[in-house]
């Protein structure tokens, strides 16, 4: 058997994964009956259906008339495995880690970091990272510094990084953000750390 359509192959696996995942997790909830459907009923049906459709897409990959390479985008399996292992360990060790929230945060962060790094090009990693950092930095660091971090880090993710331009862009966007988001729209952001 030869995989002819790499896109179908991976898409099939993805759908099967999601389908089985939702079905399995749903088994933790009461199923109910057809008359009084419990919270597990609808997701179990849908999850099963999704897995079946995924299997169809998966098997089509072997007989497809369209030829697509198996390598659709950059994928680093080791990083994904590491991420899943760390993530699962942190999740199941929840009770032991209760006393050390910092360790818990650091491990969760590391798992996410590895997860984002496992797929796609460098630019995607940097852009998504800049977004996540902005989200978590906004409260402790304030809008000004969080914006600087977001712009600089995401700009590094592009192909063509020009220092001068980025400095100007950052200044403009910080001023814009302060006046439009905070003063104009009245969004409740602090501007500086610890305000």
């Amino acid at each position: 058997m030869q995989i002819k359509n790499g896109k179908d192959f991976w898409a099939g696996l993805m759908f099967i994964g999601f389908g089985l995942g939702f079905t399995l997790v749903a088994q933790n909830y009461p199923m109910g009956s057809a008359v009084r459907m419990g919270p597990a009923y609808f997701p179990t049906v849908l999850g099963g259906l999704l897995a079946v459709l995924g299997a169809m897409v998966f098997f089509r990959a072997f007989v497809s008339k369209f030829s697509e390479p198996l390598k659709v985008f950059i994928f680093r399996p080791m990083l994904l495995i590491a991420s899943v292992v760390i993530g699962a360990a942190t999740y199941f060790a929840d009770s032991q880690l209760k006393g050390a929230p910092m360790v818990q945060y650091a491990l969760t962060g590391l798992a996410l970091f590895l997860f984002f790094g496992a797929f796609g090009p460098r630019s995607m990693f940097l852009i998504l990272l800049s977004v996540v950092i902005f989200g978590y930095a906004l409260k402790p660091l304030g809008l000004v510094l969080a914006t600087v971090l977001l712009i600089v880090l995401s700009a590094v993710g592009g192909h063509d990084f020009r220092k001068k331009e980025i400095v100007i862009l950052t200044v403009v966007l910080v001023i814009f953000g302060v006046f439009v988001f905070v003063k104009g729209l009245g969004l409740p952001f602090n501007l500086w750390p610890g305000e």
């Binding site: 008359v35 796609g120 995607m124 852009i127 902005f134 989200g135 995401s154 953000g177 729209l185």
Partner: protein
């Protein structure tokens, strides 16, 4: 014309013409065009990005502004298509073909003017169509029980998958994945937080803005960066906006045909701007002198532009009368209505007539503003196009992040959006169309609720969906749609249609 229609429209114009609402409509159109002009940002991302701006407004002002943003983004996309050959969104892909050729021949001005006029004409017609057809449809919808609603949603989702690009199986799978993701969060009947993994942030469910912004906004930026940029802007060639008499004569028929086709296709589930513009172009290519198509034929700009605007507007009909979104933009509008505390559905028209008719009136005003605003401002939009993407995307990211964060001031939401951005990238790479996913996501909880109620009422008898006449007919149409798409002949032409 009956008396009620005039009465209703006068209520609507009374609301829409208030100074405040005129202002919001204007800002919406302006902001929408401003962001829509930027290449690589479609209406969905634009609306998702600007949604937080409307949170503090009254419901009617918020909806008027969002509708304005939608037309603005739509029209901005056409400008980009004509001038840079880069469609800002999928519904202006077709405008690129002849519009860009016209720009290369130094006729960008007439192309832009005809696009604006065609859109305005289509907008006027579509507004009247909504005013005429929405009330009777809403009356029918008021008689719907849970079984009918469930079947209607099935039909809507099937329609969306049938009309999606590419593989049908993948589109159905994406719909179901969307339905499942929509179920995350607390179950209304049992109070159990499903699929939340003990995270309190997930117990309220995943916000639809998060999904839309990640899958459409972030994923677009990532794929754009991966492809690198290559753009040729025909800036110096925008001279003289006025089309010649011959242009007007040539395009008037195309505008009429485009409007008619667009108005019809917009109502279909899964239809809207994209399908309308494709269909209108294909129709034009079959009529009259076809030698100039692809080489700067003005009819090739006029027809799809009229059609996509007509389709964009009539796709509000299923939303306003049935509460069912027919495309991702409408899914966002439903989300916006829910945030404003309005349950979308047929009762909106009877309970909040000022909201319903005000919005319809504002559609016409918004279209008028588009023409007034865009023809003199084209110079400014052209300048905006010369801003390099390397400066644009960090700015877009900032808007998206602030928008997501301000939903509930939780960093977790921003992280979740990043995860959806990653998923969106994977979807693009695996050729899985994300539009059905968003529709499923919005409809997931509604479908489950109606399914449960219908089964409870029928005491567990599943045949109720077929034996109730309206429900049975709706399911029948869905089945026929699916079978037609699966028929070998149609599949072949479908492939060809999307290749074009």
């Amino acid at each position: 014309m009956d008396y009620a229609l005039i009465h209703n429209l006068s209520i609507g114009f009374g609301v829409a013409l208030s100074l405040q609402n005129l202002m919001y409509c204007f800002f919406g159109v302006l902001l929408g065009t401003l962001i829509g002009v930027l290449p690589g940002i479609g209406p969905v991302a634009t609306i998702a990005m600007l949604l937080p701006v409307t949170f503090n407004l009254s419901p009617i002002s918020a909806l008027i502004m969002l509708a304005g943003i939608y037309y603005g983004a739509q029209y901005g996309g056409s400008t980009t298509a004509i001038l840079v050959n880069l469609p800002g969104e999928s519904s202006s892909v077709i405008t690129c073909l002849d519009g860009y050729q016209m720009a290369r021949q130094g006729r960008a001005g007439p192309a832009l003017a005809i696009a604006a006029m065609g859109s305005f004409f289509a907008g006027c017609v579509a507004t009247v169509i909504i005013a005429l057809f929405a009330p009777p449809l809403a009356e029918v919808a008021l008689k719907f029980g849970p079984a009918e609603y469930f079947s209607l949603m099935v039909l809507g989702l099937v329609g969306a998958t049938v009309l999606a690009h590419g593989s049908l199986v993948k589109a159905i799978a994406m719909t179901i994945l969307g339905l499942l993701m929509g179920l995350v969060g607390t179950d209304v009947n049992s109070g159990i937080a499903r699929f939340s993994f003990g995270l309190s942030e997930l117990s309220d469910g995943i916000g639809f803005v998060i999904v839309a912004m990640g899958v459409f906004g972030f994923a677009e930026i990532i794929t754009n960066l991966e492809q690198g940029e290559s753009r040729d802007v025909f800036i110096n060639k925008v001279t003289g906006l006025m089309p010649t008499w011959k242009d007007l004569k040539d395009s008037s028929g195309a505008i009429l045909r485009g409007t008619a086709l667009g108005s019809m296709l917009g109502i279909l589930p899964g239809g809207g701007a994209l399908l309308s513009s494709f269909a209108a172009y294909t129709l034009e290519k079959k009529i009259g002198d076809t030698s100039k198509f692809g080489k700067g034929e003005i009819r090739g700009v006029a027809a799809p532009e009229a059609a996509n605007n007509a389709g964009a507007q009539t796709s509000f009909i299923p939303l306003l009368t049935l509460g069912i979104p027919s495309n991702p933009v409408m899914a966002l509008m439903i989300g916006a209505m829910m945030i404003q505390g309005i349950a979308p559905g047929p009762q909106v028209m009877t309970e909040r007539p000022e909201l319903f008719w005000g919005m319809i009136a504002s559609m016409w005003i918004g279209n008028l503003m588009l023409v007034i605003l865009n023809l003199p401002l084209i110079g400014m939009w052209v300048k905006l196009l010369t801003v390099p993407y390397r400066l644009l995307y960090p700015s877009i990211l900032l808007f998206c992040c602030v928008g997501v964060y301000s939903l509930s001031n939780q960093p977790f939401d921003v992280m979740l959006t990043a995860i959806y951005g990653l998923l969106g990238y994977v979807f693009v790479k695996l050729e899985c169309e994300p539009a059905p996913l968003i529709l499923g996501f919005i409809l997931g909880p509604l479908m489950e609720e109606n399914l449960r109620r219908a089964m409870l009422l029928s005491r567990g008898d599943a045949t109720v969906f077929v034996t109730k006449p309206i429900s049975g007919v709706l399911l029948g149409i869905a089945l026929v749609l699916l079978l037609i798409t699966l028929a070998p002949a149609v599949q072949k032409t479908r492939e060809e249609a999307f290749v074009e």
